[in-house]
Amino acid sequence: MVNDSGQLYTIEGIAAALIMLFTAYLVLSATSVYTPGDTHISDMQLEQLGTDALRMMNTPVDNSTSKSPLQDLLYYNGFEGQFNGTGFNTIFLNYVNNVTGSEIDNAPNGLHYMATVTYYDIANKTTGTLPLYANRNLTGGEHPVRVTEWVIVNKTFPGGGGGTDGKLRAVLVEVLLWRD
């Protein structure tokens, strides 16, 4: 006959072991608490990505031209209030989604954006905003970052002023960029 007087101790030992394992699990998982500082790290990364893409677009491709692709897209044959939005979409998505060893298609990284052009309305002394392109509508639930690029473009903008007689204007391209 086996002596069974230690059963309660055995159960207590097993319970203690489980409690210790659970404690170790709690301690290890506590180091991955998602703090507010961590959310800003991805924001900073996204902001830098968008800024770099716009900056690349606003650089002339070679020394045969003095106009950057972004200046050409905004100029768009000089049509007032219109820009080459689809051309912007192609180049911008190409830049922000360009990753090693992957086919470039429509936003494989889940990056979405809404781009606008802000100009100074000389006649009314206000700023106006025109849509450039958006590959996804902003619904309000997103958490976008804003990236901007200054562009000098030879174009007429609403409100007239200097642009009407072919004079140069400085406008601000603003892009709301988010990941989902």
């Binding site: 608490v33 500082g37 830098q48 100074y120 200054w150 000098i152 140069l168 204007r169 601000l172």
Partner: protein
């Protein structure tokens, strides 16, 4: 205290130790949610890209500074847009290249209320 049963003193003491350490751990966990808050805010608040962009467009506009009527419009655009869209006071003056001095000089001023930045830029 003669005759008082004091067998459980160790158990009571350990109970106190455990409860205080749990309290201490809860405080640590509570504080950890704020880790990096001020650091991230500081990095995000500093307008690094804004200053770079506005400096670039000022340098780009300097090639038109020989034509005052063109240049005044660009300068007005930059000042007005920086104030309304970036919340920053931006002013700059350009000293164009001349026969005696082949360099272009730009005096850059940027102030968004938190960060003030001044630079005197000289072309190569």
């Amino acid at each position: 205290m003669a005759g008082l049963n004091d067998d459980a003193q160790w158990i009571v003491l350990m109970g106190f130790v455990v409860s205080f350490s749990l309290f201490f751990l809860a405080m640590l966990l509570n504080q950890s949610t704020l880790v990096g808050q001020t650091t991230a805010e500081g990095v995000l608040d500093f307008p690094k890209n804004d200053i770079r962009d506005v400096k670039d467009v000022m340098i780009a506009s300097s090639q038109y500074s020989s034509d005052p009527s063109k240049f005044a419009i660009i300068q007005e655009d930059i000042t007005a847009l920086a104030l309304s869209r970036k919340g920053a006071v931006v002013t700059y003056t350009i000293i164009s290249a001349s026969p005696t001095d082949p360099h272009t000089h730009i005096s850059i001023h940027y102030n968004n209320g938190v960060t003030e930045y001044n630079e005197y830029w000289t072309s190569l």
